[in-house]
Amino acid sequence: MTDGIDKETLFRLFETMLRIRLFEDRVVRLYPGQEMKCPVHLCIGQEAIAAGVCLHLKKEDYIFSTHRSHGHCIAKGMGLRPLAAELYGRSTGCSRGRGGSMHLTDPENGIPGTTAIVGGCIPIAVGAALSAQMKRNGRIAVAFFGDGAVEEGTFHEGLNYASLRRLPVIFVCENNFYATNSPQKARQPEVNIADRAAGYGMPGVAGDGNDVMFVHDSCREAVERARSGGGPTLLEFRTYRWKAHVGPDSDIAAGCRPAAEYEEWVRRCPLELCGQRLIKEKALTEDDIDRLTGSIEAEIDDAVEFAMNSPFPQQSEILDHVY
């Protein structure tokens, strides 16, 4: 296959994206039932980044993420059962019902936790990389964050330290051009986010975050650099969120973002781009996709059923896990 990506890899990327998409589509359908009582920040439209980055990672590598982390956790290997149960606030949830959608955890799969404070995860990922460097255990850490996080002091402090110590960490900025409803140009001067890397003495790469092959390719180098002691990299992937900042609805009619902009990005759906390519390359048929969809839907059915049948935490446990 072209671009140095083999069919097998492309298929795995597609499968991961599809799992994320179908899971979140299910959240969209279930949410109005008002049983998933926590704010959900959906990544529909942005799946290629989670998939493209995480495919390079080993189980024991660390990822850290934000309020918008379903995709990253699924791509890193979190099971759909504990994920769904967490959204439903059950004690079988990945964070035992304490975290909800914004605080997902799976230490066995390299997910020590996610934080919904913008920019909060960046220095924490750097610290995990420091641990890896000190323990010489070969692990690397990835921080996923949005374009909004670039404005926070934590971005600056985190990148400065990572570069100073040549830590094995990759900064993955998912630039969807908005922080809530605030456009990037209302918050930042006109500088490519990736170009800020130079100020920290580290390489920066920008490109199409809806092209999973581009994501995967550009991340490979960053992973190699991190693993070989070459230090951190800043990756900026441009993409677009299809749903409102929070919740399952569209925000286009409400005038939050221009409809034309939205439509242009929907035409560039990361799954479509990848799926069409697989079909063109004859690596996949429409039927294959249907079958795959069916099996993932069944997995989701199972996860939701598991969640719904799981117990809630007991009120008497209110002080558990504080320390």
């Binding site: 009582k37 704010p39 605080h103 409803n181 809630f312």
Partner: protein, 345 residues
């Protein structure tokens, strides 16, 4: 300075809401928007700034439409950079402006504690009073829907510990307007904490601008058997608890602090001396919280009048859980207040 022309209203209105200033009932949300709109109209030095405050939602409606009227030069969006933007607001304030910095949630203020505590709160003192930082910070607290540990805190105590800051927690629309205008008019940095569950509350609110000064509480309901001192949303729970207790023939007095720093110690002491019993109901945590301060004031200054142990109704000492099952255990309600009253009567 248009601010000296606004009438100060320091009445300590008794009674429940909706009873007075009868002309016109508006919501807490609209009272806030009206205060902002009047401040912007009266004084060209006033401006609003905050993350997404000019977006269609308009901070739960409290800034809605203001950019259209006053322009994006005075109703400004902001980068996501809480400490830096607090510094920017301080700098504008020491250079002659009266910024109102708006945060969707108080949980983001820990990002800006350096500029708040080390700079805003100390600027007047460090300059020997020669330079003031007339800065108002609006921050919102709330309850529920699995907002979880980082989007649900009620951090008034952190600010109320710091001399140089003032901390206000309006419970009613009337107070929301008057306290907010008062803080914009004041030369000192003030944190105004609003509760999301109050935005739809309505009350008679005068159309003209008026100011309620910091440091003045109010009696929401007179009573003789027990004092319930509360603020913000807990005033409502306290009033409901008083209703419950009333059914049992117990007469509870409900004190609304309005200002948690400085405290209206006189009002607290007088109420406790009258009733001999004290419950403090706060939206935040217990340890070193506002409830601790109120209880301590009673122990210091109304000791002789206290006939029973003080009770505090606060959040349990844990971060906020996401699960609705745990949220129910987490947030105290009028039942707990009434039960606590039962224990000490």
């Amino acid at each position: 300075m248009p601010w000296t022309r606004i009438q100060a209203d320091d009445s300590r209105r008794p009674g429940i809401f909706r009873s007075s200033h009868a002309v016109r009932e508006i919501s807490y949300r609209d009272a806030i928007r009206e205060a902002l709109s009047q401040a912007l109209s009266m004084d060209p030095d006033v401006f609003l700034i905050g993350e997404g405050i000019d977006d269609p939602g308009g901070v739960f409606g409290t800034t809605k439409g203001l950019r259209e009227v006053f322009g994006s030069e005075r109703v400004m969006d902001s980068p996501i950079a809480e400490n830096g933007m607090t510094g920017v607001a301080i700098g504008a304030a020491v250079a002659g402006m009266r910024p109102v910095l708006i945060h969707m949630r108080v949980d983001f203020l820990p990002m800006s504690m350096d500029q708040l505590i080390n700079h805003a709160a100390k600027w007047s003192y460090m300059t020997g009073g020669r330079v003031k930082a007339p800065l108002t910070i609006r921050a919102i607290i709330g309850r529920g829907w699995g907002s979880a540990a980082q989007h649900s805190q009620s951090l008034q105590a952190l600010f109320a510990h710091i001399p140089g800051l003032r901390v206000l927690m309006p419970a009613s629309p009337y107070d929301a307007k008057g306290l907010l205008l008062g803080s914009i008019a004041s030369d000192s940095p003030t944190v105004v904490i609003e509760h999301r569950w109050l935005y739809d509350q309505k009350e008679g609110v005068p159309e003209e601008a008026y100011i309620i000064p910091a440091g003045r509480g109010t009696i929401r309901r007179e009573g003789t058997d027990i004092s319930i001192v509360a603020s913000s949303y807990m005033v409502y729970e306290a009033l409901r608890a008083a209703d419950e207790l009333g059914k049992k023939g117990i007469s509870a007095e409900v004190v609304d602090l309005r200002s948690v720093f400085p405290l209206d110690e006189e009002l607290i002491i007088a109420s406790v001396r009258k009733t001999g019993r004290l419950i403090v109901a706060d939206t935040g945590w217990r340890s070193c919280g506002v409830s601790a301060e109120v209880a301590a004031v009673a122990a210091e200054k109304a000791h002789a009048g206290l006939k029973a142990p003080v009770r505090r109704i606060c959040l349990p000492p844990a971060p906020t859980p996401a699960s609705p099952a745990l949220e129910q255990a987490y947030y105290p309600t009028f039942q707990q207040i009434a039960a606590a009253a039962g224990e000490i009567l």
